[in-house]
């Protein structure tokens, strides 16, 4: 995968605002578990059919700032990551609170063994 820029939680929103100002379209976010404590969230942007990616390596126990206020299109995928990986996004414009796919009583997340969001849900 080419054109990947690492970003920190502190830099994320500024980087996304800059991408929007450049005229990039948010394609989606991909999340992958790295180990017991961390996940990679990759933000995929398109401009003129070329992709660029921001890689955020986040701790599962830390809330990730939502970019749905910058890109409304992030709304569903951030809620999906909350459901599937049990991460917590702060500032989501519409927060389904881990019930987009999962039922309210579910306490396990499909892709991560440890889940802060689900612990909060309990």
């Amino acid at each position: 995968m080419q054109n990947v820029t690492p970003v920190t939680i502190a830099e994320l929103k500024t980087a996304c605002q800059a991408a929007k100002a450049e005229g990039c379209r948010l394609v989606t976010l991909s999340c992958a578990e790295l180990d017991a404590e961390t996940v990679d969230i990759i933000y995929h942007f398109d401009k003129d059919l070329s992709l660029k990616h921001y890689r955020l390596t986040a701790k599962k126990c830390e809330p990730v700032p939502s970019i749905s206020d910058i890109y409304f299109a992030a709304l569903l995928v951030e809620n999906e990551i909350q459901d599937l990986f049990g991460l917590s996004f702060s500032g989501l414009v519409v927060d389904y609170k881990q019930t987009l796919y999962l039922e309210a009583e579910v306490r396990k997340t499909p892709f991560c063994k440890y889940s802060v969001a689900i612990a909060n849900k309990a």
Binding site: R25, S30, L49, Y71, F72, V77, Y101
Partner: protein, 358 residues
């Protein structure tokens, strides 16, 4: 004005699959819409933990029946790039032929459902009658009507002989003639225009910012189609995206109708230029690395993120389907729409919940 909240779906006469929208109305006008999905979520991405990278071809084909071949094509294309191999030229052309046939039967299915959504029953039957010709081609050339299962990592596992190519050509001639006859009663019809023109309008800036994909994007004047990235045989075939500018339901109808005719031309060109040679290259290694690959599904841009570490199982398969991308634009289309027009506007993005709930 009376403010009411009305549930639209998950079971609704115009929806073949479950999608729920909570519609906030003032009198008969939609003010706000909030979606609820997850009724049929299958968690297919999770299966990569127990199925090896070759078996996952059959899994991703089952994400969606209507574009099964294109899911497998995208997945195989990504893995081939990760493995550093290239599918043989004949395989790339055959993938293009079958994927465009998939686009055609998907668009014809949608045209029928869209007509049905407006109460245009005879047109619904006419579209699905034409679609059957494409399904016959799928069945005769692959053994299956829907899940054609022609892709493998490294190429394809079925070929087309000269007799089949001539027969497909004759079917395309029939389909083209029937489609051209459809233009007046479907695209130019007074009642169809009354139901679609000026409904669910989004500007080019709005669709782009909301992350729309496929005909929903192109109907608002954005000339973006993943086939322009020259995957499969598109590096050698002439391709121009179909674009309309009005951004309403009628424009989305016109884009899909014109894409049907464009797909016929692409299949013909691919059959004429079909190179001789092998169908697949051998895969000797196990994949390692990280890749993002994209193709154009009937509903728009399909993205696969694949991650592997040299084992027989991939570490992660992430699928972003076009309907998933088109839900935020749908939420922006609905405010201001009359309740009676909601089914037409919802159908205009060609929602595939099977893809969304992969």
């Amino acid at each position: 004005m009376a403010r009411t909240i009305i549930p639209f779906g998950p079971q609704h006469p115009v929806l073949p699959e479950p999608l729920h929208l909570k519609l906030v109305l003032e009198d008969e006008i939609v003010q706000e819409a909030l979606p609820a999905v997850g009724y049929v979520h299958r968690g297919l991405e999770k299966l990569t933990e127990i199925r090896d990278f070759n078996q996952m071809v059959q899994i991703v084909e089952r994400v969606c029946g209507i574009c099964s071949m294109i899911h497998a094509q995208c997945y195989c294309q990504g893995l081939e790039e990760m493995l550093g191999i290239t599918a043989p030229p004949r395989a790339r052309y055959l993938r293009t032929i079958w994927s465009e046939l998939h686009r055609m039967h998907s668009h014809l299915l949608w045209l029928g459902l869209f007509a049905d959504g407006m109460g245009f029953e005879s047109q619904f039957m006419q579209c699905w009658k034409i679609r059957e010709r494409i399904m016959d081609v799928n069945e005769a050339t692959t053994g299956n009507r829907v899940i054609v299962s022609v892709n493998v990592v490294g190429g394809v596992r079925r070929d087309l002989n000269d007799g089949q190519l001539r027969w497909i050509g004759s079917i395309l001639d029939q389909v083209e003639a029937e489609l051209k006859a459809l233009k007046k009663p479907l695209i130019d019809d007074y009642t169809v225009k009354k139901r679609t023109v000026g409904k669910g309008v989004l500007t080019a800036e709005q669709v782009y910012e909301l992350g729309a994909a496929g005909p929903t994007l192109r109907a608002s004047g954005v000339a973006q189609d993943m086939r322009m990235t020259r995957y499969a045989a598109f590096d050698e075939l002439v391709f121009t995206p179909v674009v309309e500018t009005e951004g309403d339901c009628h424009a989305r109808l016109k884009v899909r109708y014109r894409e049907l005719l464009a797909s016929i031309d692409i299949v013909r060109a691919a059959m004429r230029a079909l190179p001789e040679g092998e169908l697949a290259v051998a895969v000797k290694d196990k994949p390692a690395g990280e890749i993002v690959t994209r193709v154009e599904q009937p509903r728009g841009e399909l993205l696969y993120y694949l991650k592997a570490s040299g084992k027989k199982n991939l570490d992660r398969v992430r699928i972003r389907t076009p309907t998933f991308a088109n839900i935020p634009p749908l939420l922006a289309m609905l405010p201001g729409v009359e309740l009676a027009d909601v089914p037409v506007v919802v159908l205009s993005i060609d929602p595939c919940i099977s893809c969304t709930e992969r």
